[in-house]
């Protein structure tokens, strides 16, 4: 609802709904401004600075993030810890709604020369932002002065923070797709050892056996995963299994579709077998239904992101968490993404200011024990390897997933909240619901993805 969205579609806006009408109003305001380029009204602070024509004060930092809910609360505590240690810095933290609105605002704020000093980005979104030349590459020597070196981070996340060999982000966490299991159901189903630890589940047969055993106990379902109106979760579940087969979807920065039909078909058929053929999992369920089903013990297993941890903690269901088992039998993989810190491109940033920015990053990383409580695996090794984190259960039980992470493939239309996830997820959902055959779904994936792959990327370059 703020100005940066406006350039996207002012045309129809005036004739459609109330919201866009306001956007077109702001678009026009933007046009009135010098050369029409000053659209980026970033935070309140920078608006005032923009109006007054002065730069931001030297020791004030603007930090944009996309955390709301439980994560938002944790991030505020971390910010407070930083502010306590750095009373001379005036931290102006702005929380925005995650997803497209966030990335649109971020991009337009940078283009409008009013970027935040530090911002959060998903690592899966990083290639697009970097190739659009919106970020400042980070020099290892400068980072080292703040103790931010490669050996202090989860290797998979650190690798993904690079684009074309250059580092563009500092990972905060890894948030993988994991397995939740109801400890009571598992105990009755004989899936736990006598000490309460999880007996390994291996292969498709292993998962079917475990789910069948759970179903006998619950009387409803063995497991559950969200399907309806949630393409992202459908994609994550598919990608976890497909990744275990070593499958790739896109190559060459998204210009090539390399979806392996045989592997995808194996995964989709198995997903359909669980829902439609064996009825071990519901074939039609939405977000509320999933929470209800697992939260009231009607299923023994839930596949979902670890960020749902607070939800089930509040539901008082006896559960624990583990990495998704190796179901397809290849090299172990699971879907994951990471939150990371980025420094948006900013002509006004000098060395001192850069140091202040990196000081904030370091401060928040040092406080990331708080972050871990929400379920995210801290990427900062000093926390990840600490005794305190190891004692944090079940959060520390799936650390292995951080290193086995498969991220969304590179491509301008890929990444968290992208159309790539929608295209893949909608097709997967149709298969899981029994509305489409695996072959038809694969054909649909190919046809929709190739439309994107063949188009010139709307990012990168400096068009007049």
């Amino acid at each position: 609802m703020t100005a940066p969205q406006c350039t996207s579609r002012p045309s129809a806006a005036g004739h459609t709904t109330h919201g866009p009408a306001r956007r077109s109003v702001l678009a026009a305001l933007g046009l009135l401004g010098a050369g029409g380029a000053t659209v980026g009204l970033s935070g309140c602070g920078s608006v005032l600075a923009g109006v007054a024509g002065t730069g931001p004060p030297h020791d004030s930092l603007t930090y944009w993030n996309l955390f709301t809910g439980g994560d938002g609360g944790h991030m505020v505590s971390m910010e407070q810890q930083y502010e306590h240690a750095h009373p001379n810095v005036d931290l102006n933290a702005v929380s925005l709604t995650w997803g497209n609105p966030y990335y649109t605002k971020l991009a337009l704020a940078i283009l409008g020369n009013r970027p935040p000093d530090v911002a959060i980005s998903h690592l899966s979104r990083l290639p697009t932002l970097a190739e659009a030349d919106l970020l400042e590459p980070l020099e290892p020597a400068v980072l080292a002065r703040h103790g931010l070196t490669a050996d202090k981070f989860t290797p998979a996340a650190w690798r993904k923070a690079h684009v074309n060999g250059k580092l563009y982000a500092i990972p905060l966490d890894t948030h993988p797709f994991v397995m939740y299991y109801n400890t009571e159901v598992f105990k009755k189903a004989g899936l736990l050892r006598s000490d309460g630890s999880l007996k390994p589940i291996e292969g498709t047969d292993g998962l079917i056996a475990a789910m069948t055993a759970c179903q006998k106990v619950t009387g409803h379902y063995g497991g559950v995963v969200n399907i309806n109106a949630d393409p992202a979760t459908c994609w994550r579940w598919f990608d976890t299994l497909y990744g275990q087969l070593g499958g790739q979807v896109l190559a060459d920065s998204g210009t090539k579709v390399v979806l392996d039909d045989a592997k995808a078909s194996r995964v989709l058929s198995f997903q359909q077998e669980l829902t439609v053929r064996r009825k071990l999992m519901p074939s039609s369920i939405d977000g509320n239904g999933v929470i209800q089903t697992f939260g009231t013990g009607k299923a023994g297993i839930l596949f979902d992101g670890e960020w749902q941890f607070p939800t089930y903690q509040a539901a008082k269901v006896p559960f624990s968490m583990a990495p998704v088992p190796n179901i397809m039998g290849g090299t172990y993989h699971c879907y994951a993404d990471s939150h990371s810190f980025i420094l948006p491109r900013d002509a006004h940033r000098d060395a001192t200011r850069r140091d202040t920015c990196l000081g904030l990053v370091r401060g928040l990383l040092d406080a990331s024990m708080i972050w871990a409580q929400g379920g995210h695996i801290p990427a900062w090794k000093p926390i990840q390897d600490s005794a305190a984190y190891h004692k944090l259960k079940p959060q520390s039980d799936y650390v292995a997933a951080a290193n086995a992470a498969v991220y969304d493939p590179g491509g301008w239309y890929s990444g968290a909240g992208s159309d790539f996830e929608n295209i893949m997820g909608f097709a997967v959902a149709a298969v899981e619901a029994g509305q489409m055959s695996p072959d038809a779904a694969i054909a649909q994936m190919h046809s929709k993805l190739s439309q994107y792959a063949s188009k010139p990327a709307p990012v990168g370059g400096t068009a007049a």
Binding site: R9, L32, A229, G417, A464
Partner: protein
């Protein structure tokens, strides 16, 4: 949808106002109009023209400027895109599914509520109340009602021994489910317009016809419905335009799914312009959609002009 309320009176009164007033008051009239005209130019006409220009360029939301000139490439791409046409069809399908019930149900409810002797205010409130509920709450509540298996509607049908569809998750039912939700939610607005229309019908006509021996059914058929004609036309056109603008409840409840089965054209524009950064292309699709809305509005204008001339 809420914006319609504002335009109603001016549009209705337009035919009456034509030709009134001597010539010399024109300048003062323009002066009075100026604040509106300036804002209208700046914030509506201006951006629309800018959007038209954008649609001929290959613009991107992560680049500054208009981008390279694309000619009519954006238009040819849209017109040959299966996704564009299917989203257009979903918008039209939604309109076909919602406009008739929203007009007819609203009229029936208004006529019934108008006949009441006692507690009329209560029924007016009850029928209008859902319209006040924000879209987020409506989709949240209906999300629960439509929950497969355990939702209220599914358990009712199951209790009756009828197998319940998966509502929002079934491509054949999703649009119908959204249409039902929309009818419940927005019928109150049309209901109020019809109530106002009913109040304009002189009571003497009913008394006179009753004296002449007309049955209540004949009164309804020969008196109420024809005299509501102008209101019906207005409500129908407003409803068509409101339905063609559908986005929020679909986006919130199905995200355009299952498997794109409900994605309306506005969501397509949103997906292209915001998610995919392709602002030039999104502007071109917006223009095509604008043409559709313009055509519908033109039909409205023509019909109401003809009626005004006849009256």
């Amino acid at each position: 949808m809420t914006t319609n309320a504002v335009t109603v009176p001016t549009v209705v009164d337009q035919p009456r106002a034509t030709g009134a007033g001597p010539r010399h008051s024109g300048r003062a009239g323009w002066g009075m109009l100026a604040p509106f005209a300036v804002l209208y130019l700046l914030f509506l006409i201006g951006p629309t023209l800018y959007g038209l220009v954008m649609s001929f360029f290959d613009g991107s939301s992560v680049r500054s400027g208009l981008g390279p000139f694309a000619g009519v490439a954006n238009y040819t791409e849209a017109l040959t895109s299966a996704d564009f046409w299917s989203s257009m069809w979903h918008t039209v399908l939604f309109t076909v599914l919602t406009a008739p019930p929203l007009v007819i149900v609203a009229m029936v409810l208004a006529i019934l509520a108008d006949r009441l002797r006692h507690g009329r205010w209560f029924f007016r409130l009850v029928f209008f109340a859902p319209y006040v509920v924000p879209v987020t709450c409506v989709t949240l509540v209906f999300g629960w009602l439509y929950t497969p298996q355990t939702g209220l509607y599914s358990s009712w049908l199951n209790d009756l021994g009828i197998p319940a569809p998966s509502w929002l998750a079934d491509p054949n039912w999703a649009m119908v489910s959204i249409a039902l939700m929309t009818v419940w939610w927005t019928v109150g607005f049309n209901f109020v317009l019809f109530l106002a229309g009913l109040q304009e019908i002189p009571r003497e006509l009913y008394e006179a016809s009753a004296v002449d021996g007309a049955s209540p059914w004949a009164q309804l058929r020969k008196l109420t419905v024809p005299l509501l004609g102008r209101t019906t036309l207005l409500v129908t056109m407003l409803q068509l335009i409101a339905s063609l603008k559908v986005f929020d409840q679909i986006y919130l409840s199905t995200h355009g799914g299952p498997n794109y089965a409900t994605r309306p054209v506005i969501e397509y524009i949103y997906d292209m312009g915001f998610t995919d950064f392709r602002t030039g292309y999104a502007a071109a699709v917006s223009m095509l959609y604008f043409v559709l809305l313009l055509a519908v509005s033109a039909v409205w204008l023509l019909i109401s002009r003809r009626r005004a001339r006849r009256a």
